[in-house]
Symmetry: none
Subunit: 264 residues, 2 copies
């Protein structure tokens, strides 16, 4: 993994999960450069890295590729972010907010002004993101595609988000529409300090799921993955602050304590 400086840009991180083709990574880097985004993160690229095909497809956006950070774990790639969206071409069987590229960027801008950092996940070329990936995110982003031909090329999907970012960040009126522009956003800030970052949320999930395993709740084993995803989705929607995550962990610890203290 490269150690990179914190990017100066307020633009969201573009996070490619298990990208397969260097050409697409390069084309995504070019699209980012076209709209002045720089923070590219790669989670387990399937091919070699660095990749000559990526450099060729970047058409001069080498500076984005050279600064790209490599991760082996999606959680690590998102650890410093406060708001993460997952792009999908089709609706998933999950209860999660659905945004357009436009409304996602509007929300990212409002959050940026509140000092928060955001990222957008893009899945593999053929399959998109797995539900396990999506369950770790705050919202889904779906472009308004033709339902009968919904599969967008990876770099094209990156482009749409970058374009919306530039359009709105470059001074067109921002953010009229999200729940964060008015009372809700201010309310969030007023009420409890900064939103939890991903590392805090994931640690909470680890804690909760370990206790639920110990209590025998996540049974039978074949249903465990779905149960875990559903629970994570519920708590992701809460959009908890750092303080609230501490409260949640206190609740879990408090309710669970007696089990540990129980005489054997």
């Amino acid at each position: 993994m490269q150690i990179a400086e914190e990017p100066a840009s307020p633009a969201p991180a573009i996070i490619l999960v298990e990208p397969q083709l260097g050409e697409n990574i390069g084309a995504a880097a070019r699209a980012m450069a076209n709209f002045a985004l720089e923070d590219l993160r790669l989670v387990n690229p399937r091919g070699p890295w660095p990749d000559e095909k990526a450099v060729a497809a970047a058409s001069g956006a080498d500076f984005v590729l050279e600064k790209a950070r490599l991760y082996t774990d999606l959680r690590e790639a998102c650890a410093d972010l406060n708001f993460v969206c997952a792009t999908t071409a089709r609706p998933r069987d999950m209860i999660k907010r659905v945004l357009t590229p436009e409304s996602a960027v509007a929300e990212i801008l409002v959050r940026k002004d509140a000092g928060q950092r955001s990222g957008i996940l893009f899945g593999r070329e053929r399959w998109g993101l797995e539900n396990d990936h999506i369950s770790l995110t705050d919202a889904i982003v779906m472009a308004p595609v033709n339902p009968s031909f919904a599969s967008i090329n990876l770099a094209q999907a990156v482009l749409l988000v970058c374009y919306e970012w530039r359009k709105q960040y470059a001074g067109q009126s921002i953010g009229r529409h999200t729940r964060f522009d008015g009372a809700a956003g201010e309310g969030l800030a007023r009420a409890g300090g900064r939103p939890a970052n991903r590392a805090e949320l994931y640690a909470f999930f680890d804690h909760l799921e370990a206790e639920l395993d110990a209590a025998g709740f996540l049974q039978p084993p074949e249903k465990r993955p779905t149960m875990v995803r559903n629970i994570r989705n519920m708590f992701m929607r809460m959009e908890a602050t750092e303080q609230e995550v501490r409260t949640l962990r206190g609740i879990i610890a408090s309710l669970s304590r007696s089990r540990k203290e129980r005489p054997k």
Copy 2:
């Protein structure tokens, strides 16, 4: 030249002038299909036509390629159109209106309602459109690119226009993307049944707070009202469904069970 039926779609024609790479033509066709545009016109493509590389890059958008019309003359390609825009990455030394993809599509929509047909020109991969081409058009379209990295891939440029078309034509640019409106609401209904009613939520709060009292979490007593309010607020934001409230109650019961089973 193929003889094609007049497309039924009111979407603008996408006109590629002297495209060099079949891959880009195919990727442009895919982008068009993603946003339900069908009228592709090619003016003097530099490679063979039809082109296997175009078909491969179209990823299933063959129907756009098959209906594509070939022209040897830009004027002929635009003959049936009432309004034609030229995309450029850099300003030209011409006196001509400059539009964004967004404003160009807005104008195309107004003209469509007046019975007019429109088209958008895209130039060669390296050079873009020649000034002679541009002089035949009504307006210039420039995406809000990073001036220091302005060169957009041909298919990416096509995508931006198609995306704006779909967004505006489908009425999706109209804001209000809160979690309470259409998309998110439908997602909620699809995935998990009806939202919990107040009675179910309050019963959950009673359950949770009773267990937290029993575990000694809501201490000291003078802080209890604030703690309870904060916890309720967190869970209210989750906007849980009926099923999810049952899951939450299962979690509380499971984590707490051992305390009750503990020998006195």
